[in-house]
Amino acid sequence: MKGRVRPKLAVWKFASCDGCQLSLLDCEDELLQLAELVQFANFVEASSKVQRGPYAVSLVEGSITTAHDRERIQAVRADSAVVITIGACATSGGIQALRNGADVAEFTRHVYAHPEYISTLRDSTPISAHIKVDYELFGCPINKQQLVEVISAFLHGRKPRIYSHSVCVDCKLRGTPCLTVTRGIPCLGPVTHAGCEALCPSYGRGCFGCYGPKESSNPASLMQHLSTHLGQPDVALSRLLRSFTAEAPPFASARKPYEPAT
């Protein structure tokens, strides 16, 4: 590796829990090796040494919720050859998007004694609503092996090998009996992007959609099934799609019919 300049990797945080960038530090077996391939040029959670851009790859965690962050993400884009968003917050607005459509002023009054000290936008929005994103990695949290795969794919100029089927398919691959069919448990497995290796069903609980909607899924049809065949009340269906990726468009539109009129 000597004599070659290692590409610069940057990690940026917006509104989030830190869990997705922690996934990088959780790569205990790969971290030091990765550090030989890239420079952690801007990874504030892990290092007090910050180098200027431009950066070869920027990993972006978190959603846009303040006017300041709305400006900051533009600077990240301008300074980065490749922008990869990591996790449900960055790709869909995250759990904090549960404020969208709510009375944020009332939320602020509820949590803070001096609402005038708090500046926040009405909606929590994904990074792609503000800048061009080169790759989106789903999950709440992301799968760290997928993160290593995506970083190495971009470093080598190839397409990441991330499968795009549903959690449902992974259950079949694991041999987990279908919870909805055999036990009448509501499950988002048929419409949720794979990546967790169908973890929850293997523990006897229905999928609650951490990885967000898979491409060309039909959550409206699934909701209808859960309503007609499992007798799930509207409020339960609305809650099922209102969690970590509530504002991902397929989920947001599929839950509309089950939400109380405002």
């Binding site: 945080k13 830190d18 290092s47 919720t65 759990i95 404020r99 939320f107 709440c140």
Partner: protein, 457 residues
Amino acid sequence: MSTASDSPPSTDTELRVRAGVKTRTIQVDYLARVEGEGALHVKTRGDVVEDVQLRIFEPPRFFEAFLRGRLASEAPDITARICGICPVAYQMSSTQAIERALGLTITPTIRALRRLLYCGEWIESHALHVLMLHAPDFLGVADVVALAKLFPDVVRGGLQLKKTGNEILRVLGGREIHPINIRVGGFYKLPSVAELQSLREPLLRARDQALATVRWVGGFSFPDVLRDYDLVSLWHPDEYPLNEGQLVSRSGLRIDVSEFESHFEEVHVAHSNALHAQKRVDGGAYLVGPLARYNLCGDKLPELAKQAARDAKLPVQCFNPFQSIIVRAVELVFACDEALRLIAEYQPAGPPFVVAEPRAGEGAAVTCAPRGLLYQRYRVNADGTIAECKIVPPTSQNQRTIEDDLRAVVQKEIRRPKAELTARCEQTIRNHDPCISCATHFLRLEIEDADELKQDP
């Protein structure tokens, strides 16, 4: 929610001295090696520290607002998302608070497994902080990658220690970050004896590595700073605290956890998106976390951990915040040892979870997140939904104390060059492993510039 006090007590009022004295500021715009977004701002006038602000600019996320109307059973999964570093702490406080609201009693098996799960989070979080975030300060390097060049064996061993903590979380919780196997009443699925036994060999190595870590950090040099903290911890008569016990303080408090809000309150200050907690009795600051636990409950540590502390010359009562790194390493020995004990004794009995009929009620719980007390209270409706909840994370409780520490450290080292003083300030903050993502559910460091001494207008 919190009621703000109109005039939070100011300890620097008396320091506002005559005009015409030179001021300087130290400013760190984006604190590194902490979890979340914070900045530091320190202002000095002549040789006197005038103002210290730990600014938390991590955006507000409004968890307590959008939890209203959700099912109480969803709280462990939703509150976990407050923090990717200590999701288990959120899951343990929320499940137990809700169980109290519902009048639910868990089985001894569930109790033991929750303790084991928490040991996993302590190992993962403490190993991360000691090795990757805090040790670089003592050795003058920027990060763990640079540290690995100086101490390759220590870093490799430390990463394996951290990995073992994560392995416990994976076996018991399904995954390391935001575990999915935790529910109100217990677990979705109990692990088999064989699954837990698979952790034994790695944990034996991890315990040796934790002992080596105590020796390594015990050899660091520590600034001579002693602070007269009021310490608050969970305390249990028979064991080092994790999930259960009374709340005790160095100043003599001994209360049930349900009385937390009668003795502690949160106030909202302009420079922070985090609320600051203080004691109601005198508006004073207090400290939670490893130093509080060690000083108030150190006699409950296993002999192996006590011996490691003695060998590292850690006093039985420790008031030097910089030595918190040794305390964390000692707690790593405890967590590995306790995990080994729990695994050896494990015999699954009873159901994976207990069920309660929905009812209206209210319940509170305090558990020991790696960085300190995490309080949660829930009021639930008869239909199983959350009517109201309150969450007080460790970092909002420690924020005032961190500012007081900075004031003491800057005052002591006020004549040092800016770069050195700034580094010292950052190290001072990291002493308490602040978790800013937690605190905004709510940090930022600025120190006004020593090189640009300027006349105060």
